[in-house]
């Protein structure tokens, strides 16, 4: 059923929390190289959908297929090693470590795999990894803060660093949960530029975003989620013109 260029297929996924039907009959296909936006009001189930994809939550029924392989029953670290990285809605970072080390750790995960007992190698001698991390920080405009403790960064910088932590792994699929939330207009624009740059490198992305400016300037396809269901999907123009969407979501936002 999956076409060859479908990287991610969320197939008939349901997720219940007790009586709450947080995800109902979600069917979603993300094609290689595309940026797929998911929009919808608060509590619609957007973050829950990402949680199911990365293995933080198991779906109540249905399955997620990545690159032809089912993700059911796989642990979060295995799913990451398959090539899925995620930026969280509230940054998940190593607050006590330096910015540089925050970015070096994912690079080591990519190179060395899920476990390696390399305890007699010096981190200082990892010149390649270090260089990679510095280049990445340069890319996101944070090289100057590389020796700071990540916990003392501003909100916007934490997000940007978390993005760098994901990008350095060159994931096949990047999941972004409101990457510009809490950022100033200026920071938002820098982040959009950055995301466009990644897009030109052909990375597949699923992005959750409230800011319509961000969504319409980045997305190839949009799915609209409301109360756990996809109520519309299509190209940005199709979604913009959809009366159901106007009513449920865009009406308030535009």
């Amino acid at each position: 059923m999956s076409q060859p260029n479908v990287v991610l297929h969320v197939a008939d996924v349901h997720k219940r929390f007790g009586g709450l039907h947080a995800l109902a009959d979600i069917d979603l296909q993300v094609e290689e190289g595309q940026t797929h936006a998911i929009i919808g009001p608060n509590g619609a189930g957007k973050s829950t959908l990402l949680n199911v994809i990365i293995g933080k939550l198991a779906p109540s029924s249905g399955q997620v297929v990545f690159d032809g392989a089912s993700l059911t029953g796989r642990k979060p670290y295995q799913i990451n090693q398959l090539g899925i990285a995620r930026v969280f809605q509230t940054p998940e970072i190593f607050a006590e470590l330096s910015v540089l080390h925050n970015v070096m750790i994912p690079a080591l995960a990519k190179r060395d795999g899920a476990f390696k007992l390399n305890m007699f190698r010096s981190l200082e001698s990892e010149i390649g990894i270090r260089q990679e991390a510095e280049d990445m920080l340069e890319d996101v405009g944070m090289l100057g803060r590389r020796d700071m403790a990540a916990g003392s960064l501003s909100r916007g910088d934490k997000r940007r660093m978390e993005l760098a932590m994901c990008l350095i792994q060159h994931p096949r699929l990047l999941l972004l949960d409101e990457p510009t939330a809490g950022m100033s207009r200026h920071d938002t624009n820098t982040t959009i530029e950055l995301l466009k740059k990644i897009k030109s490198r052909g990375m597949t992305k699923v992005i959750i975003e409230h800011d319509m400016h961000v969504v319409f300037s980045l997305a190839d396809k949009i799915s609209v989620l409301a109360q756990g269901r996809i109520i519309a999907d299509g190209t940005p123009d199709q979604v913009r013109g959809n009366p159901k969407v106007q009513e449920a979501y865009l009406g308030g936002a535009h």
Binding site: I54, K56, K75, P76, Y77, N80, Q81, A85, R86, E92, I93, F94, A95, E96, L97, S98, V99, H101, M104, I105, P106, L108, A109, K110, D112, G113, A114, F115, K116, L117, N118, M119, F120, R121, S122, L123, E124, S125, E126, D147, M148, A149, A150, S152, M165, Q169
Partner: protein, 379 residues
Amino acid sequence: MAAMPRNDLLLFLGFTLVVLAMPIWLQPFGAAYPDLLQRFMIFGIFAVGFNILFGLTGYLSFGHAAFFGVGSYAAVWSFKLLSLDVIPALIFAIVVSGVFALVIGFISLRRSGIYFSILTLAFAQMSYNMAYSVLTPITNGETGLQLTLSDPRYLDRAIFEAVPGQPVPTLLGQSLGGFAGFYFCAGFLIIAFFIAQRITGSPFGMMLKGIKTNQTRMHYTGFNTKPYTLAAFVISGMYAGLAGALLAVTDPLAGAERMQWTASGEVVLMTILGGAGTLVGPVIGAWLIKYFENIFSAINDSILRRFFDFLPDGVDSAMVTVASKFVGEGWFLTLGLVFVIIVIFLPGGIMEGVRRIAHLFNRAPKAPGKANPQPQPAE
């Protein structure tokens, strides 16, 4: 070794020098005698290893004395069955405590936080109780396991024609009494410190710090954290086993009290007192606790009476009564008080105090009074 960063090398050389010169610089403190110096080394090793699990990885074990005790028993058994030479004893002790830590770690690490701590405590208490009961054939129960002239010592008997007279542990035939014993243990502390330093500065050590800071992020970054935490657990268990074995070398009588929860708690105190997560902190914590234990527990009522003699009658005996609660057997009360004070005023331990003082000196000449606009750097 060639790739050792300069700062690390300086720290290592400085540490080595301080340790080897202890018989000299501890003289004014009245602590430069071999018996106490050996304990400084042994508990230093114990704390350095404990810090790899607690300070680096963030897992607080309340049962590490179990591995210390197992190391002691294993070493004494090696003396009894194989040879009085310390080398096979140390190897045997490290292997046995490592295997023991692998089993206990495998089970305890299914949980984290307080549940992990409780599990380790439960296992250690179980070991302690078993050493007194069902395992008496191995541990010799309350009497403790000791060397006798009639021990088989198969290896010794196979190699030497004449069986050595007194059953005392030796290193390649050399006695390890007095300062020789100290330098022997000091060598191991220096090696232990070196290995801990390498681990801390390695990619593996970085992963342990990552686990301590945000284990969830480690999972979503592609790491299987189980083997990392288990490796840290086993390594710290082997350090504890080595320390226990060295204690058996200096005093070849292994008793179950070495595994009691107070002994497990003591290494926690040492690490926190000195500064968990730092390299030298735990060693300093171990030295201070062993030093003050030695001083305070030796003070008795007659010493106190002489000390307070200058006070008027009645007052002096009152002072003696109060003070006697804090010395001798009551030394743990003093330790508890000092610990509470440190945790409240210096949560990062003595090393944090050192850092604060260094910080004052560093910026005093530059910008007096002004707050530092730069956010604090990592680590």
